[in-house]
């Protein structure tokens, strides 16, 4: 399968932050959710993927182009919108659409009109009068109507009201009906990621914590509640991310769940009472706190 992008051994250093040893790949036609707290390195990663930043080490390939050297060719097929990106306040959305249309020959006017209606945007309105949600939707319209092969979105749903958030997520879902198009979007919101992504990647302190397809991610992690007292060395088991004593109960979060785990815990005198699936948010927080690096 062709890769929409691949990063191998990437490092990027800034005075107070460093992205280290990132190797990551997104197969074409898939949607990847990039989850991390503020300052985790999500924006830096997206900048590397658009050729805006050059890595200090490693190699970036996007849609078959080596970046940043071939960024012009790559950006012809990339739609990139970031949370801190703004349009020209004094100009209308139509002015922006005309500008982008002149640059991208694949601009789909019919789809742009459909998105205008769907997002309830007025093309003749100056962008300065747009709300935050309208601004995000306008940026998304400008990205989607050019029919990019790879869509890179930095925090697309941050600060949106629930209605706007759903509209944006639905529009992204539609993009994926075309199996040749790929999406990478970063978010704090694990619910959005869980809803939309095929693959999930956790980033923390500039390092890759974990990356896997959504189903195996959710399958691998379990919360196990036991009665008894956890031995001191239990925390050292590699398949466990956290062990917490609470009175006579022990809460264990397993990053590599397997059917033998309850028996092994029982052999230590722990009585397994419940085994639950974990929500992505819980998995993310546990993974980050445990400091695991992929």
């Amino acid at each position: 399968m062709t890769a929409a992008f691949s990063l191998s051994g990437i490092a990027k250093r800034y005075p107070h932050f460093a992205l280290q040893d990132i190797s990551l790949q997104l197969p074409e036609g898939q949607i990847m959710g990039l989850v991390g707290v503020n300052g985790a390195g999500k924006t830096t990663l997206l900048r590397l993927l658009t050729g805006l930043a050059a890595p200090d080490a490693g190699e970036v390939q996007v849609l078959g182009h080596r970046l940043p050297e071939e960024q012009v060719a790559a950006k012809r097929d990339i739609g990139f919108a970031s949370e801190d990106m703004r349009l020209y306040r004094s100009q209308t959305l139509r002015w922006h659409m005309t500008l982008v249309q002149r640059i991208f020959p694949a601009w789909d006017e019919t789809y742009a009109d459909e998105l205008l209606r769907r997002f309830d945007l007025r093309a003749e309105q100056a962008v300065g009068g747009f709300s935050h949600g309208q601004r995000v939707k306008a940026l998304l319209l400008l990205c989607l109507a050019r029919r990019p092969r790879l869509l890179l979105l930095d925090e697309p749903t941050t600060g949106l009201d629930p209605v706007a958030r759903i509209e944006v997520l639905e529009a992204l879902s539609d993009v994926l009906r075309d199996e040749q198009r790929s999406v990478l979007f970063s978010s704090h919101n694990t619910h959005d990621v869980e809803q939309l992504a095929d693959t999930i990647t956790f980033l923390h302190n500039g390092r890759l914590v974990d990356s896997a397809d959504k189903e195996s991610f959710l399958d691998r992690w379990r919360r196990v509640v036991c009665q008894g007292t956890a031995p001191a060395d239990l925390q050292q088991w590699p398949e466990l991310a956290s062990v917490r004593n609470s009175g006579s109960l022990v809460e264990i979060k397993a990053r590599h769940w397997n059917e033998q785990l309850p028996d092994r815990l029982a052999s230590l005198g722990l009585q397994v009472q419940r085994v639950d699936s974990m929500a992505l948010e819980d998995i993310f927080v546990t993974a980050v706190r445990s400091g695991a690096v992929a």
């Binding site: 930043a53 950006k75 703004r86 349009l87 100009q91 640059i103």
Partner: protein
């Protein structure tokens, strides 16, 4: 180094579209100043020349701050950089965009001033003096533009822009101290003295060198960040 000519053209046109109304106002104010100069009366000359200098300096500052500093501050640069442009394309587009947005009002007002000197009762000796003052503005503009393109700090940009433009005052006073130039101002003939030619050439060469260095510096950057 290959150019993305069609997109560079679009980005230059974009800057022109964004700022043309404000620049037209500067030209209009400059024409009012020229009308005052054309009256050839001492009070009108003083008021007109002061207004003209203020307008040209303000147009230069507006061009730089609107196309670089404000775009950076309001994050519209991020939108431009997301388009299929390389740092080299972006540098050339910004340089040309600025030279167009400032160059058009600058040339209109410079030629208008020289025309006013030649075709009104004002002494023709002012021709060289006025040209040297415009030459200084061009040099100060080149320095401020170069710094704005190279340094992201708003504070340094503002300092460079205001600092270089404010120095026009000592420059004018300095010209008045050069006898070969000041003695010709009230003559009714254009006299190209050696110091005047040397200063004008220095201004043009330094302006081109500063902008050339900026382009060279940016051409070596593989990425924006």
């Amino acid at each position: 180094m290959t150019n993305n000519a069609s997109i560079i053209r679009l980005l230059v046109a974009k800057d022109w579209q964004l700022f043309q109304k404000q620049l037209a106002l500067y030209v209009l104010a400059g024409i009012v100043a020229l009308c005052l100069l054309a009256l050839a009366k001492p009070w009108a000359f003083y008021l007109g020349s002061l207004m003209l200098i203020v307008v040209v300096v303000a147009a230069a500052c507006f061009s730089i701050s609107a196309s670089l500093m404000v775009e950076r501050k309001e994050h519209t640069l991020a939108f431009v950089m997301s388009l299929p442009v390389s740092p080299w394309d972006f540098t050339i587009a910004k340089l040309l965009g600025n030279l167009v947005t400032f160059g058009v009002p600058f040339l209109v007002l410079c030629l208008g001033t020289l025309g006013t000197v030649l075709f009104t009762p004002l002494p023709d000796g002012l021709f060289v003096y006025a040209l040297l003052i415009f030459g200084y503005v061009l040099f100060a503009y080149s320095v401020a533009l170069s710094i704005a393109m190279t340094v992201e700090s708003e504070g340094w940009n503002t300092f460079a822009m205001i600092g270089s433009m404010v120095l026009i005052n000592p420059f004018i006073m300095g010209l008045a101290q050069i006898d070969a130039i000041s003695s010709q101002i009230e003559q009714d003939a254009i006299v190209w003295s050696t110091p005047a030619v040397a200063i004008l050439l220095t201004q043009v060469i330094l302006s081109v060198a500063v902008l050339g260095f900026t382009v060279w510096h940016h051409a070596r950057k593989p990425a924006f960040y």
